[in-house]
Structures are given as C-alpha cells and as structure tokens.
Subunit: 345 residues, 2 copies
C-alpha cells in the first residue's frame, strides 16, 4: 500500500467537492489500487492556509469552511510565499484550483510549474495553464518523471482528454468541434421556450449557472478557451485565443429562434477547429444545427465534443448534466492516471 | 527501435483492412513510438497459410488474395495443427479474426488461449471469446505479462472499452445502454422512409450490410452478444446471453412506425443492462425513443453506447459511419496499447 501526500490550492466549490470525493472513494481506491492518501496541505483564498505532514483532517476542514471559519487551527500555516509554501508541503501531487486569469493562465501556471519542479504531479481544473503552458509543462513533467493533468478543464470530468491520450493511439486528429459552454446552451434553450434574451440570462443567473457579469460565457470567451485547450493538446498546435474567430450569442433574437424552429433546427454556440495546410483554423459562433447533427440533441448543461481523425471518422463524447462532483471526479481520475495504477486488464 | 513479430489468423475483410492499415501507418508508428513490425505468419480459411520468420510481404499477400490465389508461395506452411502452428509462428502478438461460433466462442477462444500461453499478446475483433472467455483470458494474460485486447468487438474501432479501461479509474459503472446493431438501425430507417419490413431487409442485403440469413441481426442476437461483452468487461459480471430478455424487430409494422412519428419518436433496437441487488438485468428490444434521448439521432450505421456511473452520470460515445478500416484501427490500437508505448504525455 503506497500512501500519497496531496496538497490543495483553492478550496472553493471544486476543492471542497474533491475533498468529499476523496473521502467517499478512499476505501474503494485502497482495495482496487493499493493506494491511500493523506492531505498534507490546503491553501485557500479567504480561509487561511495549513501545512500538516501528519495529515489535515478533511472532514474538519470541510466543516470549518461550512461555518465560514479559517483552516489555521488544523496545522502550521507554512510560508507566505507561494513557491516556498508549495515546496514546504512536501506533497507528491498538487491539485491547483485557484482563481485564474484567462489572459495569461496566472497564477495557476506558476503554481503548477513549481509543483513539477518539486517532483509533484501537477493537476488542475483551470483552463488557463493548459492554453498558455501545455507544451512547457508537458516537457517539464516528462523531464521530472511526473505528470501534468487537466481532465476537468473541458466538459468537467468527462474523459475528453483521456480518450484521446490513452485510447486513440496513432490517430491523427484533424478536426475538433463541440458544444462546450453550458450557460449559453441553457440560455438558448430558454429562448426556445419563449423567453427574451435578457430574461433568459436573468434566469441562468438566478439558478447560479451564469455569473453576475455573464459576458465570459455570452460573448464566447469560455467556449473559445476550451476550444484552444483542446486544439493545443489533441491537435498538438498551440492555438492563440485571439486567432479564434469568436462570436457570442448576444445578437440572437426571438425571430432567429422562430426561424430555426420552422426549419426544425436549433441554435447552438458551436466550437470548430480543423487542420489546414496553413495550420489550425478555429471559430466559435452561433449556428443553426439540424437533426442530422448530434449537436441538435444537446440540451441544458449537457455538452458534446466531436473528434475527426484519419482512422475513426467522427467520434463524439457526450456528458449529461454535470455537477461539481463531476469536476472533482476529473481531478481524482487525473491523480490515479498520473500514478499509473488504474488499468484493470 | 523494437521490431514486433505479428501473426494473423483470418485474412478476410478485417484481416486485409488490418494489413493495409499496418502498411499505411508503419512510418508514423516508427516515428511516434519507436516500434516497427514484421508479419511472420498468416493463416486463411481458403487461401492457404504461411510462416516466414523473415517477414511475409504484406503487399504481395494482399495482391494474391485480390486475384484469389493462395498465400503458400510466400513462405513455409508451418504445422497443420492450429496450436502447433500458432506456436511455430514465434510471434509477439496474434490477431485473431477467423469465423467464430457465438454459442461458445470457438475456435477463436482456443486460438487466443494458445497465443497467450505462448507469451503473445492476443487481439481479436471476435465477440465470442469475450463473452465466453474474458475472465479466463484476462487472468491468463496477467499471469503471462501479456494483454488480451478486443476493442473492435463493439462499435468497430471506437474506444468503448478503451475509455472505460483507461480513462475512467475508480468509476463504478452501474448501467450500460446503447444502439449497437447497425443493420437493424438501417432497416428501421428505411421503414421510416416508407418501405415495408421485407423491402428494407432486401435493401440492407443489396448493399452488403445484412447477410443472406439476416436473423442474427434482425432477431437481436448480434446486439445481445455485444451487450453481453460490454457487461462482462465493464461491469465485471459474466452475463449469460440466454439471460438477456431479447426481442428483435420482426414484429415492427408500418403502423408502429407511423405511431412513433406522430409522437415525434423513432423506433430503435435498444440494448440495456443495469446493476440490481440480484445481479445485472439485461434486455435487447425495440423501443420508441424521443428527442430527449441521444439514441433518437442515431441514423444508419452510426452507433452509440451510454455508460452510467457513480461519478459521471451519463457518458455517451457515438461512432458515425464506420468502415472495415475502422475495425482494423481498433485492432491496431489494441496492439499499441498492449505494448504500452502510446502515451503522448
């Protein structure tokens, strides 16, 4: 039985869901993979930080956050400086889920680099470091004999990177497309039910799907960054997000929705990228899709990605109705895959 | 650069497509994985057999089959007895694609067992040995440090086993469903276009999708065997095909098709299996599915599988318009995965 030391940066919805999933799956993981873990450090944005080589009590940590208290009582704080703190944790794997800037992937990119430099597996649900640092972090990980993993960055925990990394050897992926942003998909659904654009946005905000400033979703930024992450990893070309022809859904009117319905079509915010002789062409924008496309079916927060390759034609993966637990599962899967323990046959 | 010795049993559509794909991908595989190969033996049903430790010329072999000639001129025949012949090939991996009996998985099951006993990876597109021998062959492979692989048995080369084996660690798959038989799906499509059942069957036969005796597809046997293979492998329980509540599509009438259309639904031959306290319950039969199901959009020879797990909700994989080359790709992927060379990061 190997005992892995884990550190967490970021303890919001995703970090807490990961903690709960780790507790829930501990016994199963011990039996299946002969792996156990202790969480040796947690660093939060507004609830303090803790380093404890004996193991932080995860249930206590979750309870403290629940009652809006600091984690400081669970061990020593460790260094203020982030790089020194990461090193001081002595962890075998770092889960990085702190707030990130999409324009440069920071500070997550620095955290992940520091983790790898200190011989830790580096695992994140943040898209920014993939878009801005995949090739660097991949090379660093390989030089260290560690792994950089990020399954939860696109379609939550659904294995969209896993399927291309592990189950499609010798395939050349020539095109990637998908419906990857659930907020816009939900808004378009509400408009199909008769709501105006602004009403639909307000609804998505009221149930916590859209943010107070919904422009990151509505103007196609989130979809663009997800597409860039996919292209960078599965097509092997770094894609500048500014090179993506990006259009959001602000200009879709009730009349557009009616037009689509009359043609038995639906509006979807579609991501597309394909290989050309001059490199990858990529776009994000609203399209009317018909029933001959699997995109037509994608409702609410469900999402789909489609890979076109030289060996398999069109292969699609659909994830229905994800939750924070789904994102946490992607992180857990990343960790077990990084350890290389999880092959049943 | 490692050079792997390959042997092929069965050189029909699938075996020939594999030979063509191996030739097409040779340069790419050498560069990416530092693996090359020689085909040291081929055994056909009606075009002779050959063992050649220096390597059988694959292009010559394909040309001979094209002109309906025997392969005997390409080397020595090797032993008549199959087990002795497999051993005599001295191969590192055996691709088994000979005609198989669904009732007991023979003779493929014996061929694969012999390959593993002789320290070869054992790879097949035949479902029978998975249904009747998965747990035995898996254990034998593990004891020998080799792999038993069968990606092409369900949904051609689409990574339905790969995704569950390699990309979903620590997941408990509680239910599997899908539209897995393309012949019946095509027949139901034609009936939606106005053809009677018999006309639709004749059409499917005329384009080479349905066999002269189409009962294996129409009565749900092919779908049942695929479902049994999935359950056996991904849910870990051997499923007796006789325990599957099986119903084919013979009784679907023009009136049934009209009824479905009026409800904006479509008939599909749906496979379902789910975990209960008493074991796995499984069924194959026609269902009317609505637009709230991704099964609705599965047209023609496209197929879909859906996994329900404790960690991801519903995850679906769709493969559109497969070809013999797709099946060959599954075999190629199995081989590269067996070698463990194919992880880009």
């Amino acid at each position: 039985m190997q005992v892995q030391k884990l550190a967490l940066i970021g303890f919001g919805n995703v970090g807490q869901a990961l903690a709960k999933l780790l507790l829930k799956k501990r016994a199963d993981i011990k039996v299946r993979y002969e792996v156990d873990f202790i969480v040796v450090a947690i660093r939060t944005g507004s609830h303090g930080r803790v380093v404890n080589p004996q193991g932080v009590d995860l249930e206590q940590a979750l309870n403290l956050i629940e009652t809006d208290e600091s984690l400081d009582s669970l061990g020593e704080p460790g260094p203020e400086d982030m790089a020194a703190w990461i090193q001081a944790t002595g962890a075998d794997a770092l889960f990085e889920n702190s707030p990130v800037s999409y324009s440069d992937g920071q500070p997550a990119l620095d955290h992940l680099r520091t983790a790898l430099e200190n011989d830790m597996h580096a695992i994140t649900a943040n898209k920014g470091p993939v878009v801005h640092g995949f090739h660097e972090l991949k090379a660093l990980a390989q030089s260290k004999g560690r792994k950089f993993r990020f399954e939860s960055t696109v379609m939550d925990g659904a294995p969209v990177f896993g399927v291309t990394r592990e189950a499609l050897p010798a395939a050349n992926i020539r095109a990637v497309s998908g419906v990857l942003n659930s907020t816009t998909n939900l808004i378009l659904n509400r408009m199909e039910s008769g709501q105006a654009f602004d009403e639909a946005v307000a609804y998505a905000q009221s149930i916590g799907i859209a943010e107070t400033d919904p422009s990151g979703d509505i103007d196609g930024w989130d979809a663009t960054i997800k597409l860039a992450a996919l292209v960078t990893v599965v097509m092997g070309e770094a894609l500048d997000i500014k090179a993506v022809a990006r259009k959001g859904i602000r200009e879709i009117t009730k009349e557009d929705i009616t037009t689509a319905k009359m043609q038995r079509k639906r509006w979807k915010l579609v991501c597309r990228a394909y290989q050309t002789d001059q490199g990858v062409e990529a776009s994000v924008g609203p399209e009317m899709v018909g029933q001959d496309s699997p995109f037509y079916f994608v409702d609410g927060t469900t999402s789909i990605v489609q890979f076109e390759s030289d060996v398999l034609g069109k292969l699609s993966v659909i994830e229905e109705n994800p939750s924070p637990m789904t994102t946490a599962y992607g992180l857990l899967a990343d960790w077990l895959n990084a350890l290389g323990v999880a092959r049943p046959y």
